[in-house]
Symmetry: C2
Subunit: 519 residues, 2 copies
C-alpha cells in the first residue's frame, strides 16, 4: 500500500541490486502504467479466441522456439541473473537448462495429446431416456496472469513453468515480473516475445508487466481468467482473496509456504545417522535455504545423538548472499522469533556477517515433540533461508501427529531402513502422503524432477488448491476447462472431437480408451 509521497515515488520505479554487495545493477525500471496495462489486457483478450483455435502441434512449435531462444541467450541471461540475484553461475546455468527442458516437456505433452481428455459418447437412441451424441474436450480458460518468483529467476519466472504451461494450454499469458530481477525479467520477456512472434504465435499471446499495483489491477480485471503465483504466505493469501472476492471469482493457483518435514526412524539413525545429519544440512542450506522444498523440520528419535554432527556440518557451511534485502530481513526476523521462544533452544546461532549486501549463515534450533504438541495454536511457519528446527520424538505416531499439525507441505521425507524397522511403515507413509504433495524416501526434497509423474503441490498452506501442480506434465490442467458438445455436426466440432480424429489424439470413445494413431 502506498502511504507516503516518498513511497509513491519509489513504488513507480524498480531497481536491481546485487545482493553480494548491495550495489545498484542496471537502469531503474518504471512500473507499467494503467494505460499500458489496459492495452496489454485488451490485446490478450482479443487474442484468446485465436489461440483457442490453434492446434496443440502449433503451440508445441512455439514452446520449442522459446526454448531455443532462451538457450541461445543463456550466457547473457545468466550474467544478468547473477548480478541481480547473487546466485552462482553454475546453479543459474543449470536452471536455464531446467527451464528449457520444461518448455520441451510441455511440447511433448501437447504432441501426445492425452491432456485434452477428448471423450466421445455416441448417441444411444434406445436408452431410456435416449442418450444424445455427447463429446467433451478441455479448452483454454483465457488470459492467465502469472506472478513470478524471486528464488528461481528462470524456472519460476518469465519463461518458467507457469508461462510454459499456460501457453501450452492455449491461454494468453501476462507475466507480472519479480522486483528482485527486473533487468533479467525485461530481457527474458523480449526474448520470449520475439521467439513467439518468430514462430507465428499471434500478437497478444504474451506480455510482461511490472509493479505491485499493476499486479493488483490485473488480478481484479474482468479480462483475466486465471492467476498463478509462487511466493509468500501473506502475499499469496492476499491475492487469493482478491481473486475470490471479484464479482466473478477466478481460479487462483498459489504456491505459498511449506515446511517440508523430514522424519528419520530409529533404525535409520542407528545405521547411518552421521550421513543423514550431513546430508540434511546440505539440503536445508542449499541455495542459501531459498528453495520452496527446503526442509525446515527434522524429526529425530529421542536420544538420537546427532546434535554434534548437525552443528559441525552447519559450521562448515560458509555464509552466502540471500536473494535480496527483504528476504534477508525476513530470515533475520524468523531466526529471532525462534531464538525468542522458550520452548526452543538454539543449537547454532547464525554467523553474524558484517559486510554489505544480504549475507546469511546457517542456524539450527532444537525442541521436543512434547513441546511442539503442547502449543498447537502456534504452528511453525516456513522461514526462507538456511535455518532449520530439530524435533526429538518419542514414537513414530507422535512424529506423524506433529507433521499433521503443521498443515500441508510440498514434500515430506522419510528416512528408514528396508530391514530392522521397529514397526510397519505403511501407515506412516500414508499419513505423510496425505499432508504432502510428494513423499521422498531416503533422499532429499530439494531438487524437483520435472516429468510426467511430477507433483509439485500440496494441501494448504503449501498451495491454495491441493488438486493441482505447478511443475510437471499435468501443470497445464490448471488452465483448461471442460467443454461438452451435444449433437453438434462434425464440421462444427473442435478438431479434437471430430469423427476422423485429425489430431490423432488418444481419446475415450464410448467409455474405452483408444490410443492415438501414429503418423
Amino acid at each position: 500500500m502506498v502511504t507516503t509521497e516518498e513511497d509513491a515515488v519509489s513504488a513507480l520505479v524498480m531497481q536491481g541490486k546485487d545482493p553480494r554487495t548491495g550495489e545498484v545493477v542496471g537502469d531503474p525500471l518504471t512500473e507499467t502504467s494503467p494505460e499500458e496495462l489496459d492495452a496489454v489486457l485488451d490485446a490478450a483478450a482479443r487474442t484468446a479466441s485465436t489461440l483457442r483455435a490453434t492446434s496443440p502441434g502449433e503451440r508445441a512449435a512455439w514452446l520449442r522456439a522459446v526454448a531455443a531462444a532462451v538457450d541461445a541467450a543463456a550466457p547473457e541471461l545468466v550474467s544478468l541473473a547473477e548480478a541481480e540475484t547473487g546466485l552462482p553461475q553454475p546453479r543459474l546455468t543449470g536452471e536455464v537448462t531446467r527451464t528449457t527442458n520444461q518448455l520441451e516437456l510441455f511440447a511433448r505433452v501437447l504432441e501426445e495429446g492425452s491432456f485434452l481428455e477428448a471423450t466421445i459418447d455416441h448417441a444411444d437412441p434406445a436408452a431410456v431416456p435416449p442418450y444424445p451424441d455427447l463429446r467433451r474436450v478441455l479448452e483454454p480458460l483465457g488470459t492467465v496472469l502469472v506472478f513470478t518468483a524471486g528464488n528461481f529467476p528462470f524456472a519460476f519466472s518469465v519463461a518458467g513453468g507457469d508461462t510454459a504451461s499456460a501457453l501450452a494450454a492455449g491461454c494468453p499469458v501476462i507475466v507480472k515480473s519479480h522486483p528482485g530481477h527486473p533487468g533479467l525479467s525485461v530481457r527474458t520477456g523480449q526474448i520470449v516475445a520475439d521467439a513467439l512472434a518468430g514462430a507465428g504465435a499471434p500478437g497478444g499471446s504474451f506480455a510482461v508487466v511490472h509493479g505491485v499495483d499493476t499486479g493488483v489491477a490485473a488480478i481484479t480485471d474482468r479480462r483475466v481468467r486465471a492467476c498463478s503465483f509462487t511466493g509468500s504466505l501473506a502475499g499469496g493469501r492476499a491475492l487469493h482473496e482478491l481473486a475470490a472476492g471479484r464479482p466473478d471469482p477466478i481460479p487462483f493457483y498459489g504456491e505459498l509456504g511449506s515446511l517440508n518435514p523430514v522424519l528419520v526412524t530409529r533404525a535409520a539413525v542407528a545405521r547411518r545417522g552421521a550421513e543423514i545429519a550431513k546430508d540434511y544440512v546440505a539440503s536445508f542450506t542449499l541455495g542459501t535455504g531459498q528453495f520452496c522444498t527446503k526442509p525446515g523440520l527434522l524429526l529425530l528419535p529421542r536420544g538420537h545423538g546427532l546434535e554434534a554432527a548437525l552443528t559441525d556440518a552447519a559450521d562448515a557451511v560458509p555464509p552466502a548472499p540471500m536473494l535480496g534485502s527483504r528476504i534477508h530481513q525476513s530470515f533475520v526476523s524468523g531466526v529471532e522469533a525462534l531464538a525468542g521462544r522458550t520452548d526452543i533452544r538454539p543449537l547454532r546461532a547464525p554467523s553474524v556477517v558484517d559486510r554489505p549486501g544480504s549475507w546469511a549463515g546457517a542456524a539450527l534450533f532444537a525442541t521436543t515433540a512434547a513441546q511442539v504438541l503442547a502449543a498447537p495454536e502456534q504452528p511453525l511457519e516456513e522461514c526462507f533461508g538456511p535455518v532449520s528446527l530439530v524435533v526429538e520424538y518419542d514414537s513414530l505416531e507422535q512424529a506423524v501427529a506433529i507433521v499433521r499439525g503443521l498443515g500441508g507441505s510440498l514434500t515430506a521425507t522419510l528416512h528408514a531402513e528396508d530391514e530392522g524397522e521397529d514397526e510397519d511403515l505403511t501407515e506412516t507413509v500414508a499419513a505423510l502422503s496425505d499432508v504432502a504433495g510428494r513423499l521422498v524416501w531416503n533422499g532429499w526434497p530439494t531438487g524437483v524432477a520435472v516429468g510426467w509423474a511430477t507433483h509439485h503441490g500440496g494441501p494448504w498452506p503449501a498451495t491454495t488448491d491441493p488438486l493441482h501442480t505447478s511443475v510437471g506434465a499435468s501443470a497445464l490442467r490448471r488452465f483448461l476447462k471442460p467443454a461438452a458438445y451435444q449433437s453438434v455436426p462434425d464440421r462444427l466440432l473442435p478438431a479434437a472431437l471430430q469423427d476422423d480424429n485429425p489430431l490423432r489424439l488418444p481419446r475415450r470413445v464410448d467409455g474405452v480408451l483408444v490410443p492415438g494413431k501414429p503418423e
Copy 2:
C-alpha cells in the same frame, strides 16, 4: 442468522410441507446439535485413512449396494418425495433411475481405473541431473461436505451425484439435507447408511446432518476438506467465501446460477420457427422451470414473427406447484422485477393462481438486443420458475456479444440449419462454448445425459470453479488430489503404483499410456 427468540426456535425445527396444498407433511425434524455434528465430523475424520486404503473395486461394490437399496425402496421414497416436493410421480420415478444409474456409472469408472491417473516415471540415473523413480496417483481429499439441492430430491440430494462421486473418490461424506424435503432426506439417509454398512463400508463413511447453522459450522470446521453445493447464487457465494476465508481454505464446488441462452438463426426460424417456439416453451416450463438448465433467454432474429406462437404455447401450459414457498416467492419477485423494467415488455403475464400452496403459471417477456447492450451494468439473472425473456437481435455477432455479457452458463443452445445459413457458424460455436459448459445443437438444454463425456459446469456464475463438473464420470476428480512418491520401495507404494499393477489399472509408464490388463 438467528435474530429473535421466535427465529431461534423455528431455526431448530424443519417441517415438510406439501406445495400443492401448503399442508404439513410428516413430523418436524430437529436441527443437528453442535455435539452431534462434532461426533459426525470426528467419525468421518477417523474413517478417512481407512477409506483411503480401500480399493476402487471395494468402493464400486458399495455404490452398487446403495443403488440396489435405493431402487428397492423406490416406491416408498417416491411417495415421500411427492408429498414434500409436489413433483409428479413419473418424474420422481425417472429421477430415482437416474440416481441409481449415476451410482452405477461411478462404479464402472472405479473399475475402469483411469480416474486414478496412475503415472510411473522410472529412474534415469544417466539424466542430468539424475532422474529419480517418481510415481504419481490421485488420492482422496478427505471428508467432503455436500449441500444438497431442493429441485432434484434424488439426483442432487442425499444419494445424488455429489455423494456418489465423493464416496467413489474414497472420501467420507457428510450430507447437509435440504429443508424442502426433510422427511425424504432422513429416510434416504437411513437407506444409504444401511446399504453402505451392509456392503462393508467403514462406519463414519457417510452421515446426514440438518440445519443452516449446522452447515455453516461444518464448512468452517478443520475436519472438512472439501465442499460441494448446488443452489442459489447468494447462498453459494456466501458459502464460497466461508470456504475461502478459513485459516486453511478448502476447495468449494458450487453450482449457482445459469441463464442457459438459446440462440436461433434466421434460417432456423424460417424453416421451423413454430416448432422451435413450441419446444422452447416446453423446455423453459418443464418441471415448472425449476431446472438448473432451464433456458431463461431466447435470442431470435429481428422480425422473427414468433411472438404469437410463443404466447399461445405458454397459454397452454397449466399452472403447477413450485417446490416450496421460498422458491415461489423468488419467482414472484423475479417476475415483478422484469415487469417493472422499462426496457422490457411483457408478452404474457403469469396466470394468477388463487389457491393454497405454491402454484405458478408461465410468464414471457421481450426486449431487443440494443436495449440489453445499452444497460450492461444490469445483467439478467437466473430466475427459477416458468419465466423467460425473448431478445430480438440484429446480427449473430450482436447476439454472441449479449451471451458473453451475461457471464457463464451451464449450457448454451444453438438452433441452426445444416444448409442455408447466412454465415459460417464456426466462430459462433466457439464463442458459445467459451461461456457455457455444454453446447447443445438443435436440441434443448433441459435433460442432462450422464456418461463419460458429460460436462455439467461452466464459468462463473454457473459454477464457482470452471474446471469441474458436478455430473458425469469426471465429477469425482473434484475430490481427488495428486500424490507423488519418490524412490519409495514397492512394498510401501499404494497398490495403484506397484510394479506388478495388482489393480490392473491403465497407467502412464515413462510417458506412454499402457492399457489395464483384463482379468
